[in-house]
């Protein structure tokens, strides 16, 4: 087997020689038929010679022996030979055995009956014999087709654990079904695998057959191209040439190929899913390890600094107090950096699942405020989140992360004496939460970038921050299928808003 043999030259010559090759093949057929007819005539002549010259027999015996010869010819040859032989035998029978002998005339009327009975019997016998022969041949062909299909199905089923791919399917078809050319087009991957001699326009025809889901016959090169369907949907196409397969066998072959391709694609999907799951697990384990490794030393530092700073009245000298405060604040900053980086990696890596439940907007805001309590102590906060707002269906923990990042931002980017306001209202089937500061605002050209990872505004590079907070907030809102947006104008502060889906009526905790 030679896969992908592009026989362009032979193709050209085939096309040029087309009329000649057509006539030469019919010439061969005609001469074979001529020989066979001659042979059957020769047999009739031989029988006549033996019966007339060598052994002397009566007309009845001669008629029966002619019939035997005709049956022999019908068994071995076709309808034409046996019919020609029947007519020749009838003429010989009449000429040599029916009186008056030596003429083609018949004296007695009963001999006319005998002659026509002979002709009718020999023609019917030839036809029956030929039909029986054809049936036998068909049965043999069907058996051979079934055997081939069986070995193909066995071969496809027994391929290694990863399942047969298109290339293996083509190889197996070539091996078991003995087609000179096999070409398989897989629509999903767009691949074409071939074995044998492939004409250049075959690829286009394969695609056309798959797309239009129609059967294409190319009589000139004896190729048949059929679409492969699975559940009515064309998943590819198969071209075979020179085959003797019946339509039913071809249909079964296509079904086998469809099942093989589907099995391969299912197997691939399973493998991909397994790889993805393992890499997700690895990522998750790695993130946990990093979180633990970073936070363990931070824990002992934080325990020490907070204890020293909590002492009332402090036994520390003023500059010691200042130095410990620096260590304490830096610890917080490093800790936040680690937390943000892990949050972002988890959210982006898809290693989290939404834990959706029904919550009141006010309890979400209160929860976030409680988490930020120590940072909000000296900041005026104006809250307008009515208790009677309808409950929303969200992952409370993640929404609180969004609120804390927005609060953190507002704290950083507005002067300490300026209040921060949190408001909520209902719009359509959403609760809109708005968080506004009275800072410098965000220049228009930067507004589209603030949700990008690691983006820091031009004027804020000196401020503490990781540049991940808004990016995390956006990813969390995206995971909920909701929006987060910014309205800001210079010197009037910034307002971040996001929407929360109202829980369907009747859902409780």
């Amino acid at each position: 087997m030679v896969p992908n043999v592009e026989a362009s030259t032979s193709n050209v010559s085939t096309r040029q020689d087309e009329p000649r090759s057509g006539s030469s093949s019919s010439l061969i057929k005609t001469s074979v038929l001529f020989l066979r007819v001659s042979a059957s005539l020769a047999l009739v002549a031989a029988v006549t010679f033996i019966l007339f010259r060598l052994v002397s027999v009566n007309a009845t015996t001669a008629g029966f022996l002619y019939l035997v010869a005709i049956l022999l010819i019908a068994t071995k040859g076709g309808l034409i030979e046996s019919s020609v032989a029947s007519v020749a035998a009838m003429l010989c029978f009449n000429f040599f055995f029916l009186p008056p002998v030596g003429t083609l005339t018949i004296a007695a009327p009963q001999n006319w009956v005998a002659l026509f009975a002979f002709l009718a019997t020999s023609l019917t016998a030839s036809q029956l014999s030929v039909r029986a022969k054809r049936r036998t041949q068909e049965a043999v062909e069907r058996r051979s087709e079934i055997e081939k299909l069986y070995s193909l199905s066995r071969a496809l089923l027994l391929t290694d654990a990863t399942g047969p791919d298109a290339k293996q399917i083509v190889q197996q078809i070539t091996l078991t079904c003995e087609f000179p050319t096999v070409s398989l087009y897989v629509r999903k991957s767009g691949e074409i695998h071939s074995a044998g001699i492939v004409t250049p326009d075959l690829h286009a025809k394969l695609r056309e057959s798959a797309v239009r889901s129609t059967l294409v016959r190319d009589e000139s090169v004896d190729v048949i191209i059929t679409p492969i369907r699975l559940g009515g949907e064309p998943i590819g196409s198969l071209a075979v040439s020179g085959g003797t397969f019946s339509d039913a066998a071809l249909h079964s072959l296509l079904n086998l190929v469809a099942i093989g391709l589907e099995r391969a694609s299912a197997q691939k999907a399973v493998t991909r899913a397994e790889v993805a799951r393992q890499s997700e697990e690895l990522k998750s384990t790695l993130l946990d390890a990093i979180a633990h490794e970073f936070k363990t030393p931070l824990t002992s530092i934080k325990a020490v600094t907070t204890d020293l700073l909590a002492e009332q009245p402090s036994s520390l000298q003023a500059h010691h107090q200042e130095l410990i405060t620096i260590v304490d604040e830096s610890t917080d900053r490093l800790s936040k950096l680690v937390t943000d980086a892990i949050q972002l990696a988890r959210i982006e890596g898809g290693t989290f699942r939404l834990n959706l439940a029904v919550h009141f907007p006010s309890s979400l805001v209160n929860g976030a405020l409680r988490q930020m309590k120590s940072m909000l102590e000296e900041r005026p906060i104006y809250i307008a989140v009515p208790e009677d707002l309808p409950p929303v269906r969200v992952d409370a923990e993640l929404i609180q992360i969004v609120i804390t990042h927005l609060l953190d931002n507002a704290l950083k980017y507005s002067p300490p004496s300026h209040p921060i306001s949190i408001e909520a209202s209902v719009s359509d089937d959403k609760v809109i939460l708005r968080l506004r500061d009275q800072g410098q605002g965000i220049p228009e050209q930067e507004q589209s970038q603030v949700f990008e990872k690691f983006f820091r505004g031009r004027n804020e590079r000196h401020l503490k921050g990781t540049g991940m907070g808004l990016s995390i907030a956006r990813e969390i809102m995206r995971a909920h299928g909701e929006d987060i947006w910014l309205t800001s104008s210079p010197d009037e502060g910034s307002e971040f808003s996001f929407s929360l889906p109202i829980a369907p009526k009747g859902s409780v905790e």
Binding site: D288, A291, H292, K295, T296, P297, L298, T299, S300, I301, K302, A303, V304, T306, D307, A310, T331, S335, N355, F360, S363, N366, G367, R370, A396, E397, V508, E509
Partner: protein
């Protein structure tokens, strides 16, 4: 100030050092263990008021250690954990912990939690105010902190007992989440709904004939919990 005996179980020597130094300075008697196995042995051999247990340790992890300590002791367990997701917190409480604190934590916060854990409820009702429960095959013996349901007896931990006492002193009345948290855990608490969810479930497992269909400790959606005392 003498607070009580604390066992710190953590595989990181620096954390053990920091905890010992600061907690001792605040008047507690502190011992430490390097692993879950060692800590478990220590809890069996000596009496402690509070166990500070690290979640992430090689060998027997914190969760398993917590389960094993709880199976044999009522000691207060506070978990030290890096993971602050709600699922993780609930798992921790389900394993029998009384409280948890996320690393890195501030020392005043840890001290507040230890104080809260050790504090017996000031508003704890006196025995005479309590409606003891003997109904539907359930018997709660408040003096021994034992509950008998259909013949099988289980013991309540200190926190479970406090929570049940609070319910029994206010039967047939919806008690808000916040009120329960502040009364039983202390004034610093109020939003830790997962504590209530887990502890109410634990109580249900001990006092309800069928904990999936509670007849005594019922949920009033969005409002709180109510102890239904059959008249």
């Amino acid at each position: 100030m003498s607070g009580g005996r604390i066992l710190a179980i953590d595989d990181d020597p620096q954390i053990r050092r920091a905890l010992r130094a600061t907690l001792t300075a605040h008047g507690y008697q502190v011992n430490d263990s390097r692993s879950g196995e060692e800590g478990l042995e220590e809890v069996r051999n000596a009496t402690y008021d509070v166990v500070l247990l690290d979640m992430n340790m090689p060998g027997m992890g914190g969760m398993e250690t917590c389960r094993l300590i709880r199976s044999g002791s009522d000691v207060v367990i506070i978990m030290l954990t890096v993971d602050n997701t709600e699922r993780h917190k609930v798992d921790t409480l389900d394993a029998g912990a009384d409280d948890y604190i996320t690393k890195p934590f501030s020392m005043p916060e840890l001290l507040a939690r230890i104080r809260a854990a050790l504090r017996r409820m000031p508003q704890l009702p006196s025995q005479s105010d309590l409606h003891s429960l003997t109904a539907q095959g359930v018997n709660i013996d408040l003096s021994s902190r034992e509950v008998t349901v259909n013949g099988s007896t289980s013991r309540l931990t200190a926190r479970e007992f406090d929570l049940l006492s609070y319910f029994l002193s206010r039967p047939n009345r919806t008690i808000a989440h916040r009120e329960l948290l502040q009364a039983v855990w202390g004034p610093d608490y109020g939003d830790e709904l997962e504590y209530l969810r887990v502890f109410v479930n634990r109580l249900r497992k001990k006092i309800e004939p069928d904990s999936s269909k509670p007849v005594f400790l019922v949920t009033d959606a969005w409002a709180g919990y109510r102890f239904h005392l059959p008249q």
